[in-house]
């Protein structure tokens, strides 16, 4: 420090007030901030893992995104129309075979599907199993209520199982499509299937800038953690931090969006999105597409043949 420095005196003496650099044995509690940070890191890792799977040399990765998209749509509609559990189980088994031939780990794949089901479907399906929602033959009696026997009915259990199987097969199909197709190819496929180009452009940019903003959030959270000395905690404090961070992020996003617009204008953007259409449909894509659609028709036809 020079003689002409204007730094206050306390800054020029050795640090005081910091506790001794020793372990006390008391563990620090991880707060919401740490969890947020870990969540962000996990999200980015997952996106990178998906891109890595899309780059593997498997069966579905070799197919054109448009063929895959139409084929999967056909199978999804068929899944929605099927009314027999064994047929749905057959479809689910087919998705597992496709996952295996596309070099996706079966355990990992199944976990991603079945983790969703209790969360989203369970809430809807659970009441349908009881006799007061779906009357019928009680197979698991649970007692009496106002003189009526209450329990799980055969009809209720069957319809719950049907919905769970249908959701599992549908999620598996969608996952197969999104895991084996890179985001940019999927967007190009949407464009080819008459989704408005501007909408596809916006979707592409939203995904692109999600990562930039996630980085900003991670930086803000890390900067706060780096300056957190004592474990002074309060719900109100955490809420305030979240509010201010959210505000700062909103400001950043706004400034960024203005610059992006200028960058687009500078390169001649006139409100119309253009793109390099490049992918060509090959024989293998046509075969796969026809096979998917034929299978979809066969599944629905077979299901109808089994009766109601």
């Amino acid at each position: 420090m020079t003689d002409g420095s204007s730094a206050p005196g306390w800054l020029l003496v050795e640090a005081s007030g910091a506790p001794p650099l020793l372990c006390s044995g008391k563990r620090r509690r991880g707060g919401a901030i740490e969890k947020t940070l870990d969540g962000l890191a996990r999200l980015i890792r997952q996106a990178l893992a998906s891109e890595e799977i899309a780059a593997r040399r498997g069966l579905l990765q070799r197919l054109d995104a448009r063929a895959k998209l139409i084929g999967m749509l056909g199978l999804l509609i068929a899944t929605g129309l099927v009314r027999h559990i064994p047929v749905l189980l057959g479809l689910y088994a087919l998705t597992l075979v496709l996952a295996a031939t596309s070099r996706i780990g079966l355990g990992w794949f199944a976990k991603r599907v079945w983790l969703f089901i209790p969360l989203f479907t369970g809430v809807v399906v659970a009441p349908a199993m009881f006799s007061f929602v779906t009357p019928g033959e009680i197979v698991v009696p649970l007692g009496h209520w106002f003189g009526h026997e209450v329990g799980l009915t055969r009809q209720g259990l069957t319809s719950a199982a049907l919905i769970v199987c249908r959701v599992a097969s549908s999620i598996s199909l969608v996952l197969l499509l999104t895991l084996t197709t890179s985001w940019s190819r999927l967007l190009a496929a949407l464009r080819a299937l008459f989704v408005p180009r501007l909408l596809v452009l916006v979707l592409g940019m939203a995904y692109r800038y999600l990562f930039v903003l996630l980085d900003s959030v991670a930086e803000m959270v890390t900067a706060r953690r780096a300056r957190t000395v004592a474990a002074k905690r309060s719900r109100r404090g955490e809420r305030l931090v979240a509010t201010f961070s959210g505000g700062a992020l909103f400001g950043k996003a706004h400034a960024l969006s203005e610059e992006i617009h200028q960058a687009m204008l500078a390169r001649g953007f006139s409100g119309e999105a253009a793109s390099l259409e490049r992918a060509r449909i090959g024989a293998i894509d046509v075969v796969a597409l026809v096979a998917c659609l034929a299978l979809a028709i066969l599944v629905v036809g077979g299901d109808r043949a089994l009766g109601l």
Partner: protein, 271 residues
């Protein structure tokens, strides 16, 4: 201004305020010759980026006029389809924030954006992409997403996306900021080469070490957003008092043993 060259850009009394309250540029006039390499020098926040954005037709001055390629440039004329396309095709702008500039899902689509907007045939666009990615040594990255790239790679993509349109005028905002030494050296060589190929280049910087290499002339903008001086890099760099006033160097004091002495100091070099 170098004699024997016609003026490509002429700005007269340019003033601009953000939100009509925060002045960014006050009464700045400039002329840029065809084929010239002009450096805009000034401290952070002096208005260099704003001036570049005016030259690129992205923001419009509150007062003053701007002519480029012999034509008046203003918001109304840029609303015209043909004028806008012709102007954008001639002017390339490399932003300081590459994240703002690289907005497409893949490198390939990013580079294709400009030429496709200008209505070039897809086969021509493909050929240009392959040439420009080879020139900038990013031909192995074309299918990558921007978030998978390093800062240096992203800068190359941003430059490729501008060069692919083959503009007459190139505007660079702090081109070497945040780059590692190798990327920085590479970029300065590229700017030098483009200048020698006859491109007109205007760039904003506060890095004095690069000036004599890549600039024919400098404009110095003061911290109160006015034009402070103009001249050849050697003249500007020799004027220590001017550089101190523009906050481009600072009075540096240090001890040699017991003796305290002070002298002007720039980031990279002792003078």
């Amino acid at each position: 201004m170098r004699s024997g060259f016609e003026s490509l850009l002429v700005g007269d009394g340019l003033s601009y305020s953000y939100l009509e309250r925060f002045p960014a540029l006050e009464e700045v006039s400039l002329a840029v010759s065809r084929g010239e390499r002009l450096a805009l020098l000034g401290a952070n926040g002096c208005g260099k980026s704003t001036l570049l954005k005016i030259l690129a037709g992205l923001v419009f001055p509150d007062r003053g006029s701007y002519r480029a390629f012999g034509e008046e440039v203003n918001a109304e004329r840029l609303e015209d389809e043909q004028f806008s396309a012709a102007f954008r095709a001639r002017v390339g702008f490399v932003f300081q924030n590459t994240d703002a500039q690289v907005f497409s899902p893949t490198v390939r689509e990013e580079i294709a954006f400009g030429p496709l907007q200008l209505g070039l045939a897809p086969s021509e666009v493909e050929a240009r992409i392959s040439d420009v990615t080879r020139l900038l040594e990013i031909d192995g990255l074309t299918e990558r997403a921007p978030y998978q790239l390093s800062a240096g790679q992203k800068k190359r993509v941003a430059i490729a996306s501008v060069l692919v349109m083959n503009p007459e005028l190139l505007l660079f905002d702090e081109p070497t900021a945040g780059l590692d030494p190798r990327s920085r050296g590479w970029l300065l060589e590229l700017i030098d080469e483009l200048g020698r190929a006859g491109k007109t280049i205007v760039f904003a910087t506060h890095e004095l070490a690069e000036l004599e290499w890549i600039a024919d002339r400098c404009l110095v903008i003061s911290e109160d957003h006015r034009l402070l001086a103009e001249g050849a890099p050697s003249e500007i760099l020799a004027d220590r008092e001017l550089l101190l006033r523009a906050n481009l160097i600072h009075e540096h004091a240090h001890r040699h043993g017991a003796v305290l002495h002070s002298h002007p100091h720039e980031r990279d070099h002792h003078s």
